[in-house]
């Protein structure tokens, strides 16, 4: 079945204590190549039937009204998983 991926990040101007804690751990491990970390969320919506423009629009609406709280977060992406990505996933599931 087709899948729509919604990605949500804390607003850039807000402190992200979770990301800061992860960045601190990386720093302690000597992973100095990475100056900072921000932690967001990824949602995968399984779609009943084909992903039409209307379904994508509904996914955006759901993303902005429920999956994210636009007071503290931004929706940074709403897209359909490509056929290649879906096939990779099927391969992984059957252990290929």
């Amino acid at each position: 079945m087709p899948v729509i991926v919604v990605e949500v990040m804390p607003k850039a101007e807000l402190l992200d204590p979770q990301g800061k804690a992860v960045a601190g751990a990386l720093h302690r491990l000597g992973r100095t190549a990475f100056g900072g970390v921000r932690v967001g969320k990824r949602f995968e919506l399984t779609v009943e039937g084909p992903v039409t423009d209307a379904v994508l629009a509904e996914a955006r609406e759901v993303a902005e009204s429920l999956l994210a709280n636009l007071v503290i977060e931004d929706v940074v992406g709403v897209r359909e998983l490509t056929t290649a990505e879906l096939e990779d996933r099927l391969d992984a599931e059957v252990g290929a």
């Binding site: 804390p10 807000l14 402190l15 204590p17 979770q18 800061k20 804690a21 429920l66 999956l67 709280n69 007071v71 503290i72």
Partner: protein, 232 residues
């Protein structure tokens, strides 16, 4: 007798204490269930603290979509006093009854302390029993209590006198302008992160200079609603 509903959600923790506070304030506490679209004709509503739905998605986000919340929003629009404590405050912002949002404490740790607050607005349904700028102590316990909003919203809240409670001594969770609680325009809906229901009975409240665990400053928040309803 005035009837005050306390809603229980999956994961509510302080609904029992909130009902007890309502009783000690002199009202009749009524158990309300999140899955019922029915307020049972109560005169006021308390959304208690806890971790509804395990804080999944965002604190208070899923609870804000409960069947009973449609009724709470409608009642709030009619002027019914509604109080959101901690997780209840988070629900009120998620339900858009109050502006802004609550984010993870800036220091990353859970905070649990007896917190001094200043009551900066007494003209609400939940603070009319206090003196203007009175200082009170009630317990505070949260992991995601940092109040935030965009600059325009903060300016409006401050300018309109809708900051009801402000943290004194420290900013315990990184809240903008040390905001601990706010009201809607009408003053019938109030949300705050600290827990007034834990400071309502001698022997079980915060320490005071007079005696250990004798702090009962939270009680007047619940008494205020009774006064507001009698005056209405």
């Amino acid at each position: 007798m005035t009837r005050v509903g306390v809603v229980t959600f999956p994961g509510s923790l302080d609904d029992g204490d909130a009902r007890r506070a309502v009783r000690l304030a002199g009202a009749d506490p009524v158990r309300l269930w999140h899955g019922d679209a029915d307020l049972q004709g109560v005169d006021a509503v308390v959304l208690p603290g806890g971790f509804s739905y395990g804080d999944y998605l965002r604190c208070g986000a899923i609870a804000a979509l409960s069947p009973i919340m449609t009724e709470v929003v409608a009642a709030a629009d009619r002027g019914t006093p509604v109080l959101g404590i901690c997780n209840g405050f988070q629900m009120l912002t998620e339900a858009h009854l109050l502006p802004g949002g609550l984010v993870r404490n800036d220091h990353g740790a859970f905070v649990c302390r007896d917190q001094r607050l200043r009551v900066e607005r007494t003209g609400t349904a939940w603070t009319n029993a206090f003196e203007q700028d009175e200082e009170i102590v009630v317990p505070l316990k949260n992991g995601e209590g940092g109040f935030t909003a965009d600059a325009d919203t903060i300016a409006r809240l401050e300018g309109d006198g809708r900051v009801v409670f402000r943290y004194l001594d420290v900013d315990p969770n990184g809240s903008v302008n040390r905001i601990a609680g706010i009201a809607n325009e009408r003053g019938n809906v109030v949300g705050l992160m600290p827990h007034p229901e834990h400071a309502v009975e001698p022997g079980f409240g915060p320490d005071t200079p007079a005696a250990m665990r004798s702090g009962v400053d939270g009680l007047r928040i619940f008494r205020s609603a009774l006064q507001a309803l009698l005056a209405a």
